[in-house]
């Protein structure tokens, strides 16, 4: 029992070290904070309900891509009956104008790197707007 002090302090040190990532993130305030997205101000409705878009926008975009490129179908009828042109840069990014403030914030938080913008152009990249 003479080593009680060493064992207890060793255990305490071990616990502090092993839980360090949790403390660190709590202190930095990054754990509980969801990404702060900049939502479009003028438009209230998206092409699908927000909950669906949040979880499945990538599937919707893949369907759009296949229909436009492979089947030459260009229009999409939304859940509320509105018709949209299936186009990432002209339809999606008309409202979600800033890739950096909308797409990137969530993708960075989730740690995903979609390759849409390897080819598709962020309209903000082009000086002087649409040419």
């Amino acid at each position: 029992m003479r080593d009680r002090g060493i064992i207890v302090s060793g255990l305490a040190g071990f616990l502090v070290l092993i839980t360090f990532p949790v403390w660190y993130n709590l202190a930095a305030g990054t754990t509980s904070k969801a990404p702060d997205l900049k939502r479009p101000e003028q438009e209230k409705n998206c092409v699908a309900p927000v909950a669906y878009m949040r979880t499945s926008h990538m599937e919707l975009l893949t369907t759009w891509r296949d229909q436009v490129v492979r089947q030459n179908i260009r229009t999409f009828k939304a859940f509320d009956g509105t018709t949209y042109t299936m186009d990432l840069t002209q339809t999606c990014m008309k409202c979600h104008a800033s890739k950096a403030d909308f797409c990137d914030r969530c993708h960075a938080y989730a740690g995903v790197t979609p390759h849409c913008w390897d080819c598709h152009i962020d309209p903000k990249l082009v000086q002087g707007g649409r040419g």
Partner: protein, 246 residues
């Protein structure tokens, strides 16, 4: 009731004839007018100003076509070639006198029997119902079989990242990435908006005419009716759909 062999065969024969006749008569007489896009080029109008590159510039701008410094890396959608390179079987030593150095406009022929489509292992390129040889850049794996298969050199491979080499980015059309093959798409994105191809609109001499070959009243059919036309390497059986008026 008894029936002898001869009567039986007669009845069966007439019945078969009636069925065959009825189906051939009842077949739809006028199928709905389909679309087969094609281009007719009038080189005489095109050659009025040999320095003109309006169509090439319009295409490059519409489709974010890069301009790479090295010829080996070149990416081309619509460009000019000397006559004897475009029509190797057509030139004699006398036609060469006037035409040899004269350029002819060339781009994807959107063949009826496209060899590039046949060799593509991923179906990244295919022939649409309206005749356009379309590409899906999402699906291209960059194997370059199509580049080797095309007898017209219409396909270009992106050896480098094209973005830094595009003069003016058009945000409404994607660029490509390194490792993807590209070519003229007959401006299918403009056709979807019921617009004519960019090169056709840009030509000041109206030397390029675009239209539906399946419509007997279309301007392309009118031109092909009125003047003799040639196509590039027709002997290969690819059935190119770019016509050059003579």
């Amino acid at each position: 009731m008894s029936i002898d062999r001869r009567t039986f065969l007669g009845v069966v024969g007439f019945s078969a004839l009636a069925i065959a006749g009825r189906s051939s008569i009842a077949a739809p007489v006028a199928p709905p007018l389909s679309t087969r896009w094609a281009m007719v080029i009038d080189p005489r109008k095109c050659l009025k100003d040999e320095g003109c590159i309006d169509c090439i510039a319009a295409c490059d701008k519409a489709h974010n076509v890069p301009h790479l410094p090295e010829r080996a890396h070149e990416v081309k959608w619509i460009w000019r070639e000397p006559f004897d390179k475009v029509f190797p079987g057509q030139s004699s030593s006398y036609t060469e006198e006037t035409l040899k150095e004269r350029p002819a406009l060339v781009f994807c022929n959107h063949c009826d029997n496209p060899p590039c489509v046949r060799v593509c292992p991923t179906k990244a390129t295919w022939k649409r119902a309206d005749g356009i040889v379309m590409m899906d850049w999402h699906r291209c794996i960059g194997c370059r079989y199509c580049v080797a298969a095309c007898p017209y050199g219409s396909r270009s491979f992106n050896w480098l990242d094209p973005r830094p080499h595009i003069k003016q980015l058009n945000p409404d059309f994607p660029t490509r990435t390194k490792g993807v093959v590209e070519k003229c798409n007959f401006c299918e994105e403009r056709l979807a908006r019921r617009e004519q191809p960019a090169c056709v609109v840009a030509c000041p001499e109206k030397a390029l005419v675009f239209g539906n070959l399946n419509d007997p009243a279309s301007e392309v059919r009118e031109l092909l009716r009125g003047r003799y036309s040639i196509r590039r390497k027709p002997e290969l059986g690819t059935q190119p759909e770019i016509y050059y008026l003579v």
